[in-house]
């Protein structure tokens, strides 16, 4: 869980297909992301071992051909656990981003369209949510409503709302004064219709970039919550909890902590690169500076 470092400029019309493949960040990032997603999807059909069957006698094995990443403290195959864990991470992060977008974007657009009191109240509400340290609040929420994937999603999702509201509002505010909007208004279109038909398409790129970043943050947040035992619950594996369980066994089996950690790093790295790449492609001004 961390801070989005960049304030976004209004992007010009997207024309990224041309340059997409030549942008290094985008190419690497999308490859990694696709790979992780493929791994998660594959786990629905096939994993090397069935992780619901425990063979405690095989516990804490090192790396071998049979178990490329070794086995955990209950004798489960770590590669299989990581594959299924990817599912969990991705699902939690996607839904959390979905909540953030689903609630935040309409709010942001509404604030930008109406201005005045609505805008003021909404932004103060944003400040209020931002004033709560996100991780602490997520811990509170999961501790109150019980640990589990669903509550982790909600906890992470809530804190995505003001992020998207802010981005959508900023984006929308910069679109509103433009001429084609004025034309639409002159043609008698209502604010709602304009928001949906003209504003939204113009800020989609912005939201996409922010979405990628929040996705990556969501994966980190989920890992943190799981590490504290507040995320997905057994028998569903999660990367964060695998790290927690590995921690006590690091002197006997360091590989236990290695692979789930790497899985998180690689996934987050992939998404961040993808986000950077997208921004470069969508925001020509920044690209010029590279």
């Amino acid at each position: 869980m961390s801070i989005d470092p960049t304030l976004h400029e209004n992007p010009d019309e997207p024309h990224f297909l041309k340059t997409a493949l030549t942008d290094r960040s985008f190419a690497i990032g999308s490859c990694i992301t696709l790979l992780i997603a493929a791994m998660a999807l594959l786990s629905f059909l096939w994993t090397p071992y069935d992780i619901t069957v425990l063979t405690v006698a095989d516990k804490l094995q090192g790396l071998s051909l049979a178990h490329p990443f070794g086995t955990d403290h209950l004798g489960r195959d770590i590669l299989s656990m990581i594959m299924i864990g990817a599912r969990n991470s991705i699902a939690v992060a996607i839904v959390a981003v979905g909540i953030g977008m689903g609630v935040g974007v309409p709010l942001g657009c509404w604030a930008a369209a109406r201005g005045g009191l609505v805008d003021e109240v909404l932004m103060r509400f944003n400040d209020l949510v931002f004033a709560f340290p996100a991780l602490l609040s997520a811990i509170m929420i999961t501790a109150i409503f019980g640990p589990g994937a669903v509550n982790a999603i909600i906890a992470i999702g809530i804190f995505n709302v003001p992020v998207f509201a802010r981005v959508a509002r900023a984006g929308a505010l910069s679109v509103w004064p433009r001429e084609f909007i004025l034309a639409a208004r002159a043609a008698g279109k209502g604010k709602f219709l304009i928001s949906v038909e003209h504003i939204l398409p113009n800020i989609v790129a912005l939201l996409l970039v922010q979405g990628t970043i929040q996705f990556a943050l969501g994966i980190l947040a989920e890992a943190g919550l799981s590490y504290l035992g507040l995320g997905a619950q057994p028998p569903m594996p999660s990367w964060g909890r695998m790290l927690f369980e590995a921690q006590t066994r690091m002197i006997v089996a360091p590989h236990l902590a290695l692979f789930p950690g790497l899985a998180i790093v690689v996934t987050v790295l992939g998404l961040n690169l993808l986000g950077d790449g997208l921004r470069d492609l969508l925001d020509p001004r920044l690209r010029r500076e590279r």
Binding site: T52, V53, L54, V56, A57, K59, L60, H73, L74, A143, G146, P147, G229, Q233, P234, P235, F244, Q247, T248, R249, M250, I251, V252, A253
Partner: protein, 493 residues
């Protein structure tokens, strides 16, 4: 990699050798898992309090020794009347509380009266329930009269909840405990450590340690590095998990696997469908593969149990074979009970690793006979509220660490929802029996009844994995009572 490590390790050893040339140490850092809520053992059932203050800071009339026997403490001797109702305690002379006030019979009377008073918040009021009157005959003599003879009275007086406190300081004991023990309270850094110092005016044999610190080390993840780096020199009960083998092979440490009073059970809600059906409970008992659960819970060895009784107790009977591991038989029993395809249920697991990890293994074993368990991890607070108090659960895993607590199966309204008049009868007889042999027989009968009723899944006796510096002597290997008695602990060279 290995060579670099050994070179660096060698350098570290040299450094360590340089400092070891000094005289024997007189300080000790002991690692404990739970932080006490406060330090008054007479106002809470929290074992974390007794693990720090028992025998070190506070003393009772009697005490429980390292082998579980009742020994004299502040009372140097006692007489019991013919009818077993009047106990006359002869107290030690020259005993002072840490604040300098004298200890005498009035303090004993104050303590016992306070504990059994109407507004008492003593968590173990039943320890004092048998007391009718307490009389300070003279400063060195106390006469306690019981309503009915009670076989376990002297043992009860040895609990941490029955330690003697002074009227002058009793109310402040939570924050600044004042007792009569060989150590005095020094400071408490909340969340971190409780520090004790030697009591120079101690009435008994002086202790070897000058300073003792109980450091709160919540889990294995923190405990292992703390031990390996020498920050903590002793863990009377170390959360160590699978790293045990590594530590056992390290010559710097000794590992003592002792017994505790912790019967670890798969608690079943006997009052709820389908667990009110004996066949279902028997099926579950047959489906449990204890060695695998023990290994999964992170123990290399732990005594299996077949009933709610400590194998260390002389009245123990081995009932582990009552319902041996037999999944096929378990399935048949389930079918007979009307669940040929099994059923769904929940398994609520409190935080300790034996529950969380053991629970995963139990869930996987029960899944093999068709019982599909949803694991719900709960914090202790929620466990107490939901499982213990409101009995809102199907299955749970927990270790019952109170000594000799088989009588909980006779309690109405206990969270097992178990009720068997025959069992209650046995416990009632036990309460008024003081003949040791008769008592042992009754204990054996009690064990058999609950084993055959498969009230709970009886898993294993929680081992006490004590790990400490090889140069330390005098720590307890077993824990017959929740205590870390440091009176005989010393460093050797």
């Amino acid at each position: 990699m290995k060579t670099i490590k050994s070179i660096i390790g060698g350098a570290a050893l040299l450094l360590a050798a340089g400092t070891a040339a000094l005289a024997a140490r007189t300080d000790l850092v002991v690692g404990v898992v739970l932080e006490p809520p406060h330090l008054d053992p007479t106002a809470s059932a929290a074992a974390a309090i007794d693990e720090i203050v028992y025998a070190n800071l506070f003393q009772g009339l009697t005490r429980v020794g390292r082998n579980g026997a009742v020994e004299p403490s502040l009372a140097e001797s006692w007489d019991v009347s013919e009818d077993g109702k009047v106990y006359t305690f002869k107290l030690h002379t020259g005993v002072k509380f840490h604040d300098g006030t004298d200890f005498d019979a009035e303090d004993v009377k104050f303590t016992l009266d306070r504990a059994r008073a109407e507004d008492s918040t003593n968590a173990q009021k039943q320890l004092f329930a048998a007391i009718d009157t307490v009389e300070a005959v003279d400063p060195q003599t106390v006469k306690v009269t019981l309503k009915t003879p009670q076989g376990a009275f002297l043992y009860n007086m040895g609990w941490g909840d029955a330690v003697i406190v002074a009227p002058e300081s009793a109310d402040g004991n939570k924050e600044k405990p004042i007792g009569t023990g060989p150590f005095k309270f020094d400071s408490w850094a909340k969340g971190s450590a409780v520090r004790l110092v030697r009591n120079p005016d101690y009435w008994g044999d002086p202790v070897a340690l000058e300073k003792a610190e109980f450091r709160i080390v919540p889990d294995a993840a923190a405990a292992i590095p703390a031990l390996l780096s020498g920050d903590v020199q002793a863990f009377p009960q170390m959360p160590v998990g699978d790293a045990l083998s590594q530590i056992e092979s390290d010559p710097r440490f000794v590992v003592k696997i002792g017994a505790t009073e912790g019967e670890t059970i798969l608690a079943m809600n006997n009052g709820k469908e389908p667990f009110n059906n004996l066949k279902v409970r028997q099926a579950i008992a047959h489906a449990l593969n204890r060695p695998e659960i023990i290994a999964g819970a992170g123990y290399s060895e732990a005594p299996e149990i077949g009933s709610h009784f400590s194998p260390a107790n002389s009245a123990y009977v081995d009932l582990t074979g009552t319902y041996p591991y037999d999944p096929a038989n378990a399935k048949e029993l389930l079918a007979e009970a009307g669940y040929p395809d099994g059923f769904k249920a929940t398994l609520k697991l409190p935080p300790p690793p034996y529950a969380r990890q053991g629970g995963e293994v139990v869930a996987s074993q029960l899944r093999q006979i068709g019982i599909d368990l949803q694991i719900i991890p709960v914090e202790w607070a929620q466990w107490l509220e939901q499982v213990f108090k409101n009995k809102d659960y199907d299955l749970s895993i927990v270790s019952h660490t109170e000594p000799n607590d088989i009588n909980i199966y006779a309690r109405d309204d206990y969270y097992f929802n178990y009720s068997n008049p025959a069992f209650k009868e046995v416990i009632n007889t036990l309460d008024v029996t003081s003949d040791p042999e008769r008592r042992a027989d009754l204990y054996k009968t009690a064990q058999k009844i609950i084993a055959e009723d498969a009230v709970n899944g009886f898993l294993f006796q929680l081992p006490k994995i004590g790990v400490w510096d090889a140069k330390l002597q005098g720590l307890w290997e077993n824990s017959p009572i929740q205590a870390n008695d440091l009176t005989e602990v010393k460093w050797t060279d």
